[in-house]
């Protein structure tokens, strides 16, 4: 049987065996957390607490009035030590609330798994999700409630849960699917109810047969007609547009959203967070983070409270290997963000911390383009990266735009496939930035 997939893409070394078989452990309660007031796409939050205030676990400490935004919550019991600019893993410094913990934890209620789906309405589910500050947990951190509130003229007919996890090294979604399939499915049911949609899919790469089994077994009693679709193991299978293409054969037009073709895609981790929010009114306080890579002494999957510093998380995994040159990345090696400071906190979109060392780091030197077309053959959105990068480097935003550069999803396939080792994605990002700058200047 040929598996469903999309055209182009690459087959990197996945290295998932480092952590795929390891049960998720609960990380130590941090003594101090740093909660950035912006962990999502959209308007930044305003702090609701002052220096010296006592806060409890789950208390809302930041919110904004805008539509596209997401509140932030304290993840420990304690006292607000400071509200100041603090380094952020996505770059730069962001206003953050720094909380010193008192060591106690709150119980969020256990009991049987399951929701009383009949009494829940679309409105109550959406409210619970908004109040819980849930954002897309695959990495981009787009507020979930916005995806669940499509404009009236857009008919949504399908929901897809993204369990591909195509990024090398990361196994946080994989472990979640094996360990808590019921919670994911109940969360999925709530999402489908909120959108009023009856057809749901879960896309999983076929290199995770145990996760497919676990979900198949669990779905019978919760959502029997949910389709679990095994997909070819290929990068970037988990990119939203690639996933829709593979499962539903629909193409999202350039500059449009999945909503425009009647689909909403959510991450596995988001579904679990939705369940917690609807069942216990529990905000998004912790998430599974894969700490992996050849620079880590004991790779692990950890349930980490948001706001814990990278340094503390890495130390709980036996620390980094000594003596080698290291590269710490938030996320995976393909799309993750390189870090220059380990004082940064784990945020809602931190799916993993990858530490590469020694030979695993790509050398800095690159050679001239030999026009082999490798980047064109692998680009999942059918661009010509070798050409676009020249437009980016020599600052020609008009041509960059005309050749479709803004539809680049920054997956990194082009850089991966380049035999001359050229940093193509970095240039493409420069090109996209230049187009945005030119548009801003033009509208003035």
């Amino acid at each position: 049987m040929t598996l469903k997939t999309f055209k182009h893409g690459i087959h990197p070394d996945y290295h998932k065996e480092l952590t795929a078989g390891k049960k998720t452990e609960r990380a130590q309660l941090p003594k101090k957390v740093v909660i950035p007031l912006q962990q999502h796409i959209g308007a930044p939050c305003q702090p609701l607490v002052k220096k010296g205030d006592t806060v409890t676990e789950g208390q809302k400490i930041g919110d904004a009035a805008a539509f596209v935004t997401s509140p932030v919550h304290s993840t420990i019991n304690g006292k607000v030590k400071e509200i100041e600019k603090h380094p952020h893993p996505v770059g730069g410094k962001i206003m953050s609330v720094i909380i010193e913990g008192d060591g106690s934890v709150k119980e969020w209620g256990n009991g049987s798994i399951g929701l009383d789906a009949d009494t829940l309405t679309s409105e109550t589910i959406k409210n619970a999700i908004k109040e819980a500050g849930i954002v897309g947990m695959g990495g981009a951190a787009f507020p979930t409630v916005v995806k669940l509130s499509p404009p009236k003229d857009k008919k949504i007919d399908s929901v897809i849960l993204n369990g591909c996890e195509c990024e090398p090294y990361l196994t946080s979604d994989h472990r979640l699917m094996i360990e808590e399939p019921e919670k994911i499915l109940w969360g999925m049911k709530a999402i489908m109810k909120a959108l009023g949609v009856s057809s749901g899919y879960i896309g999983i790469e076929e290199n995770k047969p145990d996760a497919i089994d676990a979900l198949e077994k669990a779905k019978k009693s919760i959502i029997p007609d949910l389709k679990i679709v095994p997909l070819e193991t290929k990068y970037p299978q988990g990119a939203e547009k690639m996933l829709i293409k593979a499962i539903l054969k629909r193409r999202v037009p350039v500059g449009k959203l999945p909503m425009d073709v009647g689909v909403v895609v959510h991450n596995i981790g988001t579904a679990k967070a939705v369940y917690d929010a609807v069942k216990y009114q529990k905000p998004l306080l912790e998430r599974v983070v894969t700490i992996s890579g050849n620079g880590i002494n004991e790779p692990k999957n950890l349930m980490v409270r948001i706001g814990t510093s990278f340094d503390e998380v890495i130390n709980q995994c036996g620390g980094m290997k000594k003596g080698l040159e290291k590269l710490v990345i938030m996320g995976g090696p393909m799309m993750g963000i390189a870090q220059t400071n380990l004082d940064v906190p784990v945020i809602k979109g931190t799916s993993g911390i990858t530490v590469l060392a020694g030979d695993a780091i790509r050398p800095a030197e690159y050679q001239p383009c030999i026009r082999c077309g490798g980047c064109v053959e692998t680009c999942p959105v059918n661009l010509m990266p070798y050409r676009l990068t020249d437009y980016a480097r020599f600052n020609e935003p008009d041509r960059f735009k005309a050749w479709g550069g803004i539809s680049c999803i920054e997956c990194g396939c082009c850089s991966f496939s380049c035999p001359s080792n050229r940093p193509l994605v970095q240039w493409l990002r420069v090109g996209k930035l230049r187009v945005r700058e030119a548009e801003k200047a033009g509208s003035r």
Partner: protein, 285 residues
């Protein structure tokens, strides 16, 4: 036989060519676009380098705009006073005093001063390095690559041996291309009368700023106290900001007690192009 072919082809090409040239000559007369002949004259007067300093799309647009009075005759920043005078005499209007601007690089944290926190292996341009943060621990300072130098069309900038860009005071025309190229907004355009500058953009608290660079502004406010006019220098966002409307520019009193020597007086005018290259020759020898 072969002779015929040459004659026929040359003849026919000649006839076609003559016919087309007659048509073109007719079209040139018939469809001529009337253009203000003064535009060409103005383009001769202004530098015609398309630097973008006037804020318009190229020198031709400046010429068109200045003729209809949309922009002032002092609008050409690259040309400065001499072009303003020439334009005034050509257009028969009274000349005005052009404000001469020059670029000031407000970071002195080079290789020797700034602390490095990481190794950067990406593309060596500032705009690309800005995605990850570059090598230096300071998140406000100069990356030390040369986007600004590449942007300069007047050969008025160079990277010094400390990894920082320098502006040649005598060559800089004040077009602002370098300021626009800098992703961290370290380069500012200033009037030539400004002499007192705080060469640091680090908005962190003093303790944090001091750790990342030897010449960072720690917001100790000694310069604020030493400024002869109250409010001449203010601390905004942990940074001493000179208020050029109030602060007198003829005294170096505020810089004397600065513990990190980040606020300096009368530094820019010393560096002329000739001076800079003469120092290079000395170190080479």
């Amino acid at each position: 036989m072969t002779g015929d072919i040459i004659i026929i082809s040359a003849g026919s090409m000649g006839i076609i060519g003559a016919a087309l040239s007659l048509f073109l000559a007719y079209a040139d007369k018939k469809f001529k676009v009337e253009e203000d002949p003064r535009i060409e004259d103005v383009l001769q007067i202004i530098p015609n380098t398309n630097c973008g300093g006037c804020g318009l799309a190229g020198c031709r647009m400046f010429a068109e705009s200045v003729l209809v009075g949309k922009v002032s005759i002092t609008g050409c920043v690259a040309g400065g006073q001499s072009v303003a005078d020439a334009l005034a005499s050509y257009l028969g209007v009274e000349t005005q005093t052009a404000n001469k601007l020059y670029a000031v690089v407000l970071c002195r944290g080079g290789e020797k001063e700034a602390v490095k926190s990481s190794i950067y292996k990406g593309e060596k341009t500032c705009v690309a390095a800005n995605f990850t943060g570059g090598e230096k621990a300071c998140t406000y300072g100069c990356f030390g690559y040369d986007d600004c130098v590449k942007a300069c069309k007047f050969d008025a900038m160079a990277m010094n041996d400390n990894g920082l860009p320098v502006v040649f005071y005598d060559t800089c025309v004040g077009c602002g291309a370098c300021a626009r190229a800098c992703p961290r907004f370290i380069i500012e355009m200033h009037d030539v009368s400004h002499k007192l500058f705080n060469y640091c953009r680090n908005k962190d608290k003093g303790a944090v700023a001091r750790k990342v660079c030897k010449v960072s502004c720690i917001a100790c406010s000694l310069c604020v106290k030493d400024c002869p006019v109250e409010g001449g220098i203010e601390i905004i966002d942990n940074l001493a900001v000179v208020n050029y409307d109030k602060c007198p520019q003829d005294t170096d009193a505020p810089i004397k007690r600065c513990p990190t020597k980040c606020i300096l007086y009368d530094e820019e005018e010393k560096i002329t192009k000739e001076f800079y290259y003469s120092t290079l020759k000395k170190t080479a020898a």
